[in-house]
Amino acid sequence: MTDTALTTQTPRFGGLFTTSALQKAMAFAVLILLLLFFSIFAPNFAAWNNMVNIMQATAVNGVLGVAVTFVIISAGIDLSVGTLMTFTAVMAGLICTNMGMPMGLGIIGAMISGAILGGVSGTVIAKMKIPPFIATLGMMQVSRGLALVLSDTHPIYFNDTPNYGLISSESSISLLIPGLEIPNGVFVMFGVAIIGAIILNRTIMGRYIFALGSNEEAARLSGMNVDRWKIATYALSGLICGVAGLIISSRLNSAQPALGMGYELDAIAATVIGGTSLSGGRGTMMGTIIGAFIMSTLINGLRVMGVHEEWQIVVTGVIIVAAVYVDIVLRKKT
């Protein structure tokens, strides 16, 4: 009897998507409503150029959101993503400009250096039992300081690496389809999100991240090497920060060592708006990307409407709290 019940099931994504499907749909609906609202009330909002602006503005936050989503699903937190991004950008600058190495090495160097510092955070958390909040707060300062030290506090320009703009600011697709000026950074973000979703849902690492976030003690008593996977999670987060570092430095054509503070909170906000639970065990990459889009759409729309920047900040604050409240209400019902 149970057998027939089982075979009728389509087990493609397991139970992972079903629980958060509602939240994702909600977030998506909110994004559509925002787009409609601003299209009606803000002149020129719907212009293609402005849409490109929004996408461009989402790219960095979206990628950092993916990084932090892994960590948050594992029931941790990563406050160092913003400054790790800056640190990796400086590393890319050092490799490409100061050392004159090819761009490929700069890309790899940025990602690996991010993974190493992330791994350090993970090791501190797993082995020294320092709470993730404190460990990554420390890493935030360490990576910020290192970025300043290594760059001697000056921006590093990528003038000798002409192709560096290809990472983010240029639009390769417009060569194929003239007029479709979507910058490459947006595609990089979607690529990172898709790879992130695959890792989360299709690999053993993703499975362990969910188990860690849902019940770490049960996972440990099931024979899981909790420490190793925690370190791996933070290292992965750092590696993705490396991608964000490449996007932002490509867009600015320079590694700006003073940048980076505050990005981590935007990334966490995007993750939370996208339905990922801060207590761990639940979340999706798609939700995070939608969350990042909601934030940049909101800020852009308010700006186009002529709302003062100060008020934009206030509104985003309210939105974050409202999103979490909706999440709590929805969760009680299920």
Binding site: A5, L6, Q9, P11, R202, T203, I204, L221, M224
Partner: protein, 554 residues
């Protein structure tokens, strides 16, 4: 007022949602008979009121409490007179704590009546009980470590000054000092609770209860962490309270304490009140015989001697006060029972062997070879499995699917390049074990939290079978599982032993240990106090070893 709001609340909810969850209607139903039943017990009370001198202060009648899958209290009753110490005894899970949680407003009964000084009462929460003068001192103390003793005692009702803005610390400390003086104990009101010994923290809890002008004081195993001198002091305080007319419910496992301070003893078993006896003139043997004799699911007594080949040997295991010099061995195909009272150290032994906690000393041999187990991952690699008594916290990732929980320990096996998950293989094997153990679930993708206790336990068992563990440690394998499912779990364990697994069963249910085990080790206060043959052991012989105390004071 509290009563009125309670009655209306469920009906409002039912009216608001057209299709109330079935659980809600079930919960609403027992409420009605409980209200309707009220006039009847009044009549029943009359014979009692003929002799008003002996009229009890607390009277609980027909108390029913069910949890999902468990009937915790069945028509339980209890009464308490002013100025008496009434010992409440019974095996673990007999329902003592549940009954007392109902008396102190922590839980609501499904049905039944509580009378306080003759008046029927409904308790909306612990605070309501406290306001009536009913307090409880839990086994785990509920104090805030970083506050002082005085702050702890008057938390939430601090004396104020300056138009109620500031806490009047001086009065707070003076009140606490007066209270301590009244109790004839020497405690500094300004000392932080965290730095005090457990015994002194307990005194603070008692002082707090007294400060509420408690007429009824429930003490749940108050001496479990005290040494002999501290116990004597506690008994002095109890005698003093008794003289002041406070009624004391004393939950304990220790026979000698009952002899010393109790006036009456009530024994519970299987959620029912078995008997209430005067403490004087009642023998320990009589009390033990009332406590034991629980009904058991219909499972045959285990036969044979188990195997010969030694699979696991533990030597000289030590961990604090809870595990002291524990040595034993298990053979292939054998079920070794671990009996003892709560807190005897059985779970701690299991956790130490499994690498969940770090023992201070001890050697573990598996298949004759010394092994080093530092983490649970090491233990699993050596074929050890531990099935915790608290499945939801330690056994299952309840928000994940049945499939993921069955396969979690074996995930590495289902990967390509140690990276990709092969979900097809996971599904097939999870289904295989769902069928094999007859887990009732609509699909392997069901979230584990939605299954019943028995089915959850089967999933934990499936997890370790899939991982090919040959030494299985079951900690309270049938806790929170109803009788029918228990029988299935027993058969499963016996079947596993026949297949050649070495099995350790930790259980507080004596008939369970007796039916299942080839051999029984009894623990008390961290030590193994005896070994019994499963075929000849009796509940009495186990209880005698389980209540055996070490001669020396800590």
């Amino acid at each position: 007022m509290a009563k009125a709001s309670k009655k209306t609340a469920p009906s409002k909810k039912a009216a608001a949602s057209k299709k109330p969850a079935p659980v809600k209607t079930v919960a609403a139903k027992p409420a009605a008979p409980a209200v309707a039943a009220k006039p009847a017990p009044v009549a029943a009370m009359k014979p009692g009121s003929v002799a008003p001198a002996a009229a009890p202060m607390i009277q609980m009648n027909g108390i029913e409490k069910t949890f999902p899958g468990v009937h915790a209290l069945r028509n339980a009753s209890f009464d308490l007179r002013a100025g008496e110490v009434h010992a409440l005894m019974g095996e673990n899970g007999a329902g003592k704590s549940t009954l007392m949680r109902i008396l102190t407003g922590v839980m609501e009964p499904n049905a039944g009546e509580i009378r306080f000084e003759g008046q029927p009462i409904t308790l909306s929460g612990p605070r309501a009980a406290q306001d009536l003068g009913i307090s409880i001192i839990h086994q785990e103390l509920n104090l805030m470590n970083h506050l002082t003793t005085a702050q702890n005692i008057f938390i939430g009702r601090e004396p104020r000054k300056g138009f109620g803005v500031f806490v009047d610390e001086a009065k707070l400390n003076a009140d606490a000092a007066a209270l301590f003086k009244h109790m004839k104990i020497d405690v500094d009101p300004k000392q932080e609770v965290g730095g005090m010994t457990v015994a002194r923290q307990q005194l603070v809890e008692i002082a707090k209860a007294i400060s509420f002008k408690s007429k009824v004081l429930v003490m749940d195993e108050p001496t479990s962490a005290l040494n002999d001198k501290e116990v004597a002091h506690l008994f002095d305080i109890i005698a003093e309270l008794k003289a002041q007319g406070v009624g004391i419910v004393y939950i304990t496992h220790k026979m000698d304490e009952v002899k010393k301070i109790a006036d009456r003893v009530t024994v519970m078993r299987d959620g029912q009140t078995i008997d209430t006896l005067p403490a004087e003139g009642t023998s320990m043997a009589k009390i033990i015989s009332l406590m034991v004799g629980r009904e058991l699911a219909d499972v045959p007594q285990i036969t044979g001697n188990g195997g010969k080949e030694e699979v696991l040997r533990v030597e000289g295991l030590n961990l604090g006060k809870q595990v002291r010099d524990v040595s034993f061995a298990v053979k292939k195909g054998e079920i070794l029972g671990f009996a003892g009272l709560m807190g005897a150290g059985r779970t701690e032994v299991a956790r130490a062997i499994f690498g969940a906690d770090k023992p201070e000393s001890g050697t573990i041999y598996i298949h004759g070879k010394e092994v080093k187990i530092v983490t649970p991952a090491d233990a699993v690699r050596h074929g050890l499995a531990y099935l915790s008594e608290d499945r939801k916290r330690f056994g299952l990732v309840t928000t994940m699917s049945v499939r993921d929980n069955i396969t979690i320990s074996s995930w590495q096996r289902y990967t390509g390049w140690n990276f990709w998950m092969k979900d097809g293989g996971l599904n097939t094997d999870a289904r295989k074990y769902v069928d094999l153990l007859k887990v009732k679930t609509p699909s392997v993708h069901q979230q584990t939290r939605l299954l019943s206790g028995g089915n959850q336990q089967k999933i934990v068992i499936a997890k370790w079978l899939l991982r090919d563990c040959d030494i299985l440690i079951f900690d309270e394998p049938t806790r929170g599982i109803d009788v029918g499912a228990k029988a299935e779990i027993y058969k499963l364990l016996q079947g596993l032993a026949e297949q050649g697994k070495a099995i350790i069963v930790i259980s507080s249910e004596l008939p369970e240990v007796l039916r299942l085990s080839h051999r029984i080790l009894v623990m008390s206060e961290g030590r193994i106090t005896g070994e019994l043959d499963g075929k000849t052991a009796t509940q009495e012989s186990i209880m005698t070893l389980a209540t055996q105390r070490q001669g020396k004071a800590a």
